[in-house]
Amino acid sequence: MRTLKIAFLILLAATLAGCAPPTKIIDDSAATSPVETAKLQAMEAVAQAEVALAQAWVALQSQANGGVLFKGEVQAIEAELDKAGAILDEAHDAINNGLWDLATGKAGETGDLADSAHALLGKYLKERRKSKGGER
């Protein structure tokens, strides 16, 4: 029970740490026109999505290193993250072509994919811990 209490406290600390707003990468406060503001905000959305995706890759690597996940599961999550990466590449093209709204929309799409990859990771980890057998 003591370990569970400690785990709960760590969970609480991590949750609180996760509540901190993400560091702003591209500041739009110096924008001189509404168009420039829209452009910088779109760039910020894409940059934040890039960082979130980078973190998702690092998390997958950490969990895969632990040897808890099966090969097929790691590959399923990799596929989701790759899809998100391809959409972000399109978002960069949209920015280069002046399509700010499209770029922002694509950044949001990748957020949904990253959530789905994260949900998959959580599901697999839970399954593995329930059934301790099986071939990895």
């Binding site: 760590i10 600390a13 894409v46 890039e50 950490s62 790759d82």
Partner: protein, 69 residues
């Protein structure tokens, strides 16, 4: 296995996951701070963020490929 041992193991797994989660978050925060230091223009920062994702993906893929060989 007794229920208590199962609970303790579950707690240990949970603690390990959370440790990894916070460590990974710190890594990202550090990288973003470095990016904001080195890249000054919005364009450079956006390109840097993309590079960060590509590096993380390439590193993870290479590591995973080694593990599942």
């Amino acid at each position: 296995m007794s229920a208590t041992v199962d609970q303790v193991l579950f707690g240990a797994y949970l603690a390990l996951d959370l440790y990894k989660l916070t460590r990974d978050e710190k890594w990202t925060q550090k990288k973003v701070a470095e990016l904001c230091q080195t890249a000054k223009t919005p364009k450079e920062r956006l390109a840097g963020a993309r590079e960060l994702r590509r590096e993380a993906a390439a590193k993870a893929k290479a590591d995973i490929a080694k593990m599942v060989e």
